[in-house]
């Protein structure tokens, strides 16, 4: 079966104001809305569109994290994924560990494509897709803004500093998504009901033969330097004057 594997991560919702804990051990996540990483939603949307165009038969969504990540997997199922896998792991999930777990799922599911977000908006590491492609010894096409699938290859347009770069990669391959790729669909209520019946497997990390391992110790979190409070101007003329004085116009 032609499958697409989509990796998602649960993160603090993008609308939440991040607060660093006073003891510097992390940011406040208790009582805070948690959602699918926005770039991963784009990854899932792309997989669903490929399937809807007939380019794949099944979309599997997977995450590596604690038991309550099931909620985000259910949301992904409601968006349209066919089934979900939770690789259950407690503690810090570093990119290398996430990639090792995803590689085990790849060996099991034999997908023709793996799509991930280009980075998670919590740790901002931006590594998992590339690390996975390296471990898998397969092509990577990061920061995708357009994906055209052929029988044995894909043409991927990438958003790079120089502009737009197009690569041709043999399948299977790893793609990571940039913003411009698509706009994810909204979940409709009946789909949420349907999603409850879709399969969601829970696999402990250890049964995949992947070691829970943290290579970078998180020593300290600090808030960034704050901006000084500014001034109010009364009209456009005063604004233009103030900007000229600052040498900005």
């Amino acid at each position: 079966m032609k499958r697409i594997l989509v990796g998602i991560k649960r993160v603090v919702d993008y609308n939440v104001r991040i607060r660093v804990k006073p003891d510097g051990s992390g940011v406040v996540t208790e009582g805070v809305k948690l959602s699918i990483n926005p770039f991963d939603e784009i990854a899932l949307e792309e997989a669903l569109r490929i399937k809807e165009r007939g380019g794949a038969e099944e979309v599997i969504v997977a995450t590596v994290g604690p038991a309550d990540c099931q909620q985000q997997l259910r949301t992904a199922l409601a968006m349209g994924a066919d089934r979900a896998v939770l690789v259950q792991a407690d503690g810090v999930v570093e990119p290398l560990m996430a990639a090792r777990a995803l590689l085990k799922l790849i060996e099991r599911e034999q997908p023709l494509l793996v799509i991930l977000g280009k980075q998670a908006i919590d740790d901002d590491n931006g590594q998992t897709g590339q690390v996975l492609a390296a471990l898998w010894n397969r092509p990577q096409a990061t920061y995708a803004s357009k994906v055209e699938l052929a029988a044995a290859s894909a043409r991927v347009t990438r958003e790079v500093d120089a502009g737009l770069e197009t690569l041709e990669v043999d399948l299977p391959a790893v793609i990571t998504t940039d913003l411009r790729l698509n706009e994810p669909r909204y979940v409709k209520l009946p789909d949420i009901m349907k999603a409850k019946k879709k399969p969601l497997d829970i696999v402990p990390l250890a049964t995949l033969g992947v070691e829970q391992r943290q290579q970078l110790k998180l020593v300290r979190f600090e808030p960034p330097p704050q901006r000084q409070k500014g001034i109010r101007v009364k009209d456009a003329a005063e604004l233009v004057e103030a900007l000229k004085k600052k040498g900005l116009l």
Binding site: V12, Y14, N15, I18, V27, P38, F39, E94, P95, L96, I121, D122, D123, D124, G126, Q127, T128, Q130, V131, A133, A134, L135, P139, Q140, Y143, R158, D161, A162, G163, L167, E168, V169, D170, L179, R180, E183, Q215, L216, K217, L218, V219, R220, F221, E222, P223, P224, R227, G230, I231, R232, V233, K234, D235, A236, A237, E238, L239, L243, L248, L249
Partner: protein, 314 residues
């Protein structure tokens, strides 16, 4: 632990990117670092020559291969891994080139990567932004094994010229180079307006613009100021502006000299994307809008009167 640092040069085949000189400055922060720069190219001579003249560089390793015509991560990574043996740190720039490549190298090495290094506290301890810069995290590597890193461009000045150029060595690496990834084309982003990411001035609109039509007053002012135009996520979601114009945590994170937020209330995710701007101007009819908390200059009023007036005045 001192450091033997390998820096992966970013270049276009003829010219060394300034990002490499910034990596050198970052590497010099590692006490006692011996710095080597690897130049992977078809013909590395020109770029290697430029790298050799950066202050702090001890030697340049020229890795020449016909497959290196384009900077493909899958092609470059195994060559750099073949070179990596004696090094403690392997650094590249946190540009799309470096972010794509370095994590693949880290994967092949099974080494940890520190992304977006903004400060070096010791050979194993680094500072980096997380949550789109809403928190600064200090991380510590175990000290055994290698550390891979990408260097945040806004945090380091470019290394200056060396008094005497470093030696250049041509090295032959034995690595299996894959053919599964092929370069097709590259095209510069096409727009009449300056690029949002690099523009010195940016004017962004929010939902208060009311329609795609409403954005025209911003395009008009932007043209006069030579500014790029951005949009809040709310404006993008409402269909007033395309996604590529989105400024914020889920869009582009920018740091212009001047940022003008027009009819943008200032949702957290938007503020995250602009907080490194030098000067922030807010124009909004709601004087209580959170955008005013971060604005250097605030103006409360009707944007449809204010924007054309500013255009007349400048």
């Amino acid at each position: 632990m001192s450091g033997k640092v390998l820096i992966v040069a970013e270049h276009d085949g003829a010219k060394l990117n300034v990002s490499t000189a910034k990596c050198v400055t970052c590497a010099r922060g590692i006490a006692g670092a011996e710095i080597s720069v690897a130049v992977c190219a078809v013909d590395a001579a020109a770029v290697a020559g430029q790298a050799a003249r950066l202050a702090g560089v001890g030697r340049v390793l020229a890795v020449e291969n016909a497959a290196n015509a384009h900077a493909l991560a899958a092609v470059l990574a195994p060559q750099l891994v073949a070179l990596a043996g004696p090094f403690t740190h392997i650094l590249g720039p946190s540009t799309t080139f470096g972010k794509d490549l370095m994590a693949r190298i880290a994967g092949l090495l099974g080494a940890p990567q520190v992304s977006d290094i903004m400060g070096v506290e010791s050979p194993t301890r680094f500072r980096r932004p997380v949550y789109a810069g809403n928190a600064i995290l200090t991380v510590e590597a175990a000290g055994e094994g290698k550390v891979v890193g990408t260097v945040r461009m806004a945090s380091f000045e470019a290394a200056g010229p060396a008094t005497t150029p470093a030696p250049i060595e041509k090295v032959a690496v034995s690595a299996e180079i894959p053919t599964h990834t092929r370069f097709v084309s590259v095209s510069a982003a096409k727009s009449d307006r300056p690029d949002l990411q690099t523009a010195a001035r940016v004017i962004s609109g929010g939902r208060a613009l009311g329609s795609a039509e409403g954005f025209k007053i911003l395009y008009s002012l932007a043209a006069k100021l030579g500014a790029a135009v951005g949009a809040s996520r709310a404006a993008v979601d409402a269909g007033y502006a395309p996604n590529e114009m989105q400024v914020g945590q889920t869009g582009k994170i920018i740091a212009p000299e001047l940022y003008v937020a027009v009819g943008i209330s200032g949702a957290i995710q938007h503020l995250t994307g602009i907080k490194d701007a030098r000067t922030i101007v807010a124009i909004n009819k709601d004087g209580e809008a959170p955008i005013f908390e971060v604005a250097d200059l605030g103006l409360v009023g009707d944007l449809f009167q204010i924007i054309p007036e500013i255009e007349r005045l400048v």
